[in-house]
Symmetry: C2
Subunit: 327 residues, 2 copies
């Protein structure tokens, strides 16, 4: 199976030398930090960092800095490293709870090393995120990162509180997206733009919040839509976990039988496949995707003209890529 | 059963008004921070903070500040709050791994609320610790706390790496004590003394490292010695978990039968009780306690004359209390 073409991959080339230098330096620093974890955590730390992913959050830091005219700032690399470390820490911790065997095609830390190791590694990556910013001497940045970390923890729990509640309010779903996903996108853009001052940082944070929610909605669409070969997850995994997402909420309004389902009785296999197909048949996936597209449009339109146009262009490409995944 | 008299309880009265004010303000701030966790984490956060314990680490921050002539500093309360938050975070996380039903006579967060909740609460308390210091504007303090947090994570894992290795080297045991216990004691004293400059902070950190290792040795003695009514744990719990501690290492050198035990085959109940009695019969508990007393003596002797004598006196009382627990 050929690898999915990454719509973000071309951005690097287009951003110019300072952008490339910042992203390369961030990547190198991430690997250093992992290697410095010390035995016995250095191996799982390095594997976690090398497993990679798109580095979307470091990219947002750098592009936000570019847009704010601060790509040459010394704040960029520590901020890029810090947001990715927090992101990695939450993934490592999430996999403990979800007992996930695989992530990004590799064995998770919890599966390969154990629960204690995964817990400690997550804690260590968290601590390293804060020390990167402390070493950079940026108190305001530290406050931003701490606030985002708290939002992630709360978001994870709201999801739990709402589990199996098929009639959860749409606002509550959005709040959950904001906390568990958009908060770190927002922190990334804010951190990149911080030296340019509050108005610019606020504008870029607002952009990031919208594309963060859109990103989560798309994730939730893909969870229903699959296919498994692309998403790496069995379609309907969220529903099976009791996580009620926008596609299901929209589908329930359109299909009485879906509205009558008790999620606690749901089992994997054929009935789950059938439910995913029913959700798709209501048009809910198109509606949810349209919502995400609307958020991306709003995000792009909200970017002020005063920003560096090259940075804006690249941020817009990222915003589009967020909703164009696998579509 | 009457409550154990806390040998630290009288310290508050003896320390004068600024000490009391700092400790009270720290206590109040801890409760505020817990309440601000936001639903659904505010309840377990408040219960965790209120369950309390001795607040030994905030006390070390304040006494170190007193000894360094900085008890009136604005750094004291944030540092005291931050070290206690990190300590609380690690306890909440440890209880997930140990599947512990009770701590300090109350249901643990993992038992009362679930694993996901305990994981998120620990992460949130970590993040809050760093934001307290960030809000206080002290970058050096942030670096100290981050470094201690990393040490805690590594210490937890060294213990795991060494699990069931009955012949683990004494140096390795000490390193584990330094990482999993003494590092946060050290951070507490260093944070209290930081504004007085490196030499003073280093001296107080050295004091803290020694009493931290002594504290852990005493914990390990109490794990063998019990009685359960006082320690809240079944004697021999460490051995059952495969955690080889100083009493067992010393006992193995003196009793061939103990040296021949395969810890993996150990079961709770009578055989465990018997092993604890055999360890005690070798005199290993006295030897380990003597080691701890020696560390405390070295710690006290290492405190320079240039420190505030009232602070020194109280630190010495804390050092003594560390090894006089339940003895």
């Amino acid at each position: 199976m050929p690898a999915e073409r990454d719509p973000l991959a071309d951005l690097l080339a287009a951003g110019g030398e300072p952008l490339r230098a910042a992203l390369d330096a961030g990547e190198q620093r991430l690997r250093e930090v992992a290697a410095q974890a010390g035995p016995p955590l250095d191996a799982p730390a390095s594997e976690t960092i090398e497993a990679g992913g798109k580095r979307l959050r470091p990219l947002l830091v750098a592009l936000s800095a570019l847009a704010a005219g601060r790509i040459d700032g010394e704040h960029v690399v520590p901020a890029a490293v810090a947001v990715e470390l927090v992101h990695s820490a939450t993934l490592v911790h999430d996999d403990i709870i979800d007992r996930a065997p695989l992530r990004r095609g590799r064995a998770t830390v919890v599966a390969a090393y154990g629960r204690r190791e995964a817990l400690a590694l997550g804690d260590l990556l968290f601590a390293r995120a804060f020390s990167e910013l402390a070493a950079a001497g940026d108190l305001e940045a530290l406050a931003v990162l701490a606030s985002a970390s708290r939002a992630l923890a709360r978001g994870e729990l709201l999801q739990r509180e709402d589990a199996f509640d098929a009639g959860v309010a749409r606002e509550r779903y959005t709040l959950r997206c904001e906390l568990k996903t958009a908060a770190l996108f927002e922190a990334a853009c804010r951190l990149g733009a911080l030296p340019a001052g509050p108005p610019v940082a606020d504008e870029l944070a607002a952009f990031a919040r919208r594309i963060g929610v859109a990103f989560q909605i798309l994730d939730d669409v893909l969870d229903v839509e699959g296919p498994e070969e692309r998403t790496g997850k069995t379609p309907g995994t969220d529903l099976l976990d009791g996580t009620v997402t926008l596609p299901f909420l929209l589908a329930r309004e359109r299909d009485e039988q879906l509205a009558g389902i008790d999620l606690r009785t749901l089992r994997s296999g054929e009935p789950l496949e059938e439910i995913c197909e029913r959700i798709a048949a209501t048009g809910a996936l198109h509606l949810a995707r349209a919502d995400a597209l609307g958020l991306v449009r709003d995000a792009k339109e909200g970017l002020p003209d005063t920003l560096d146009p090259r940075g804006v262009e690249l941020l817009e490409l990222v915003a589009d890529a967020v909703v164009e995944r696998y579509s």
